[in-house]
């Protein structure tokens, strides 16, 4: 894994650990570590879906980053957005 990716990954873990609320956040780290191995398998198995075979050297950092983003997206997933629709500038004309 390239050093800068590893460092960023470690940083995000720390940020998650420190920026949230107490013990709930402590649970993220082991969850995250546990996620990375299956995520590599999942990403490898998605080659048919994405049309891209990710080489070994990119698999681990990519899985690490995806795992991190998924982990810190938990507060986002928990948001109750009711009937709010996505903002868009798509125009039919």
């Amino acid at each position: 894994m390239p050093t800068n990716v590893l460092v960023r990954l470690m940083s995000r873990r720390k940020w998650i650990q420190r920026s949230g609320v107490g013990t709930a956040n402590l649970l993220f780290t082991p969850t995250l570590l546990a996620q990375e191995q299956p995520l590599e398998v999942t990403i490898r198995s998605m080659a048919t879906l994405t049309g891209t075979e990710l080489g070994n050297s990119w698999l681990q950092p990519t899985a690490g980053l995806v795992g991190t983003i998924v982990a810190y997206s938990q507060p986002l997933r928990a948001l109750d957005l009711g009937s709010i629709e996505p903002a868009t500038y798509f125009k039919a004309d």
């Binding site: 390239p2 800068n4 990716v5 460092v7 960023r8 470690m10 940083s11 995000r12 720390k14 940020w15 420190r18 920026s19 949230g20 999942t42 990403i43 998605m46 994405t50 891209t52 990710l54 990119w58 950092p61 990519t62 980053l65 995806v66 983003i69 998924v70 810190y72 997206s73 507060p75 986002l76 997933r77 948001l79 957005l81 709010i84 629709e85 996505p86 903002a87 868009t88 500038y89 798509f90 125009k91």
Partner: protein, 467 residues
């Protein structure tokens, strides 16, 4: 004498150019001399447009002599972030992928600056594809900090901010997806304005994330930011997100002062995990605004803790979508960091992307509630000082964190909401590093943030123009 003219802001130079007391060629020569002198040390430019720039300066001189003065940007030496397409001039986006690309068209903002009579001095260094906050560019070298060349200039518009701060040009054009105008502006001690999403056309700017990308100026003064905005703002049939709302008379209407104005101070989130010296300068700025007639109110903005995830989900998905063809053809031309981000963008969930886009509306509502109590919101621009070139850790008060996390934190709420925000200088530390103050406002209310910025700037004994 040679540094006197080029170090002045646009609003001081323009009347001298109009009255023919100075010449655009003289000003251009000063800029070029300064660029050649500082390029080996600061590396602010990827391409220097000496030949084209001289032609433009000679033409501007001739037009002004004939009485065809176009306005305050006529004959002013300006640089452009290398993200913007420039006709006939190499446009790399700080990448190896586009290292040889010479566009046959100008980005709309660039075309408007040409119409206003700018003299282009060069294309500035930037973080590769604007995908980062340090401007530590592996292909063209790092754009260094003019206050301490061992440190980064911030990104992604780092070359632009460094060039303005070190008077290699008078102003620059940048872009901001997660703070890429305001972060380097704060670090280099200049003014960086991110206008409302839709106020300035994005056409011809290589996208990082279409729905978050903003185009705006980096300048030596708040008044200069207003002059630049007036030149580039407005609707554009080539950009579906460009707004047709009328453009205000920024320069005239920003001069009302702040007496009676209420500004919000969000103690949560924006004042947490901040370097104590930065906190001290921002608190002093708050007192200064109160001393010139404004009133502070505490405001609370919910859901900010989701901003980092929203930004990551949207940026990764949109950036990967744009880069997919290049990623197939030239994967090895990307740096490891940018390529990892792009690869990761393929594996995020569409539902998380859509939820992030939906949550932006919630965030806008929450900010709008705060804006019912206050006309602008004040905060530090950044929680930490720039790291040394090559370093990625910074100290944000009691928290040591990655520079990406630190520099995105106070910026991304305004990229996600699309609301306008400006960063300006609010002091220098004992070690000589500038500190940035961020002022954010309601959608399309650039006038008020410019008004507060100008009033604050005029109330201080120093400002970016004197740097």
């Amino acid at each position: 004498m040679s540094e006197v003219l080029i170090s002045r802001p646009i609003h001081q130079l323009a009347p001298l150019l109009e009255k023919r007391e100075i010449s655009p060629v003289e000003l251009f020569d000063e800029a070029i001399e300064r660029i050649h002198q500082l390029q080996p040390k600061l590396n602010s430019f990827i391409t220097i447009t000496e030949e084209d720039g001289r032609k433009a300066a000679i033409e501007a001189e001739s037009e002004i002599r004939k009485g065809q003065y176009r306005g305050p940007l006529h004959g002013i030496p300006i640089s452009i972030k290398d993200l913007f397409a420039t006709r006939g001039i190499r446009t790399t986006a700080g990448s190896k992928v586009l290292a040889e690309w010479i566009p046959d068209y100008d980005a709309t903002a660039v075309a408007r600056l040409h119409q206003a009579g700018m003299v282009l001095v060069g294309k500035t260094n930037m973080h590769e594809f604007a995908y980062g906050v340090t401007n530590d560019n592996p292909h063209y070298g790092p754009a260094r900090n003019p206050w301490d060349p061992t440190r980064v200039s911030g990104g992604s518009s780092g070359g632009s901010a460094a060039a303005v701060a070190s008077s290699q040009c008078v102003a620059s054009l940048g872009s901001d997806t997660g703070g890429s105008i305001r972060t380097p502006a704060a670090i280099c001690g200049v003014v960086g304005l991110k206008p409302t999403y839709g106020r300035v056309s994005r056409y011809g700017a290589i996208p990082l994330a279409w729905s978050l990308d903003h185009v705006g100026p980096l300048t030596k003064s708040v008044e200069d930011a207003a002059i630049m905005l007036a030149a580039i703002a407005g609707t554009d049939p080539k950009d579906p997100s460009a707004s047709s709302r009328p453009i205000a008379d920024y320069r005239k209407d920003m001069k009302g002062g702040v007496r009676g104005l209420r500004f919000g101070v969000p103690r949560q989130y924006f004042f947490e995990h901040v370097d104590p010296e930065i906190r001290k300068f921002v608190s002093a700025a708050i007192h200064r605004l109160e001393s010139i007639g404004a009133t502070s109110v505490e405001v609370d903005i919910p859901a900010l803790e989701s901003c980092a995830a929203m930004e990551a989900q949207i940026t990764l998905a949109e950036a990967t979508s744009y880069h997919e063809p290049y990623l197939k053809k030239q994967p090895n031309d990307y740096s490891a960091a940018v390529r990892t981000n792009l690869e990761a963008g393929r594996y995020l969930l569409a539902t998380d992307y859509v939820k992030s886009q939906r949550a932006r509306t919630l965030l806008q509502r929450n900010f709008n509630e705060a804006f019912e109590r206050a006309e602008v919101i004040i905060s530090p621009s950044l929680p930490a000082f720039p790291p040394l070139v090559g370093e990625v850790w910074v100290q944000s008060g009691e928290m040591r964190e990655h520079v990406i996390d630190a520099f995105l934190r106070f910026n991304i709420p305004y990229d996600l909401t699309g609301f306008p925000a400006i960063s300006l200088l609010c002091g220098f530390t004992a070690s000589g590093l500038p500190v940035g103050l961020q002022i954010a406002g309601r959608a399309f209310d650039e006038i008020t943030i410019l008004r507060v910025g100008l009033a604050y700037e005029q109330s201080t004994s120093w400002n970016a123009a004197s740097s």
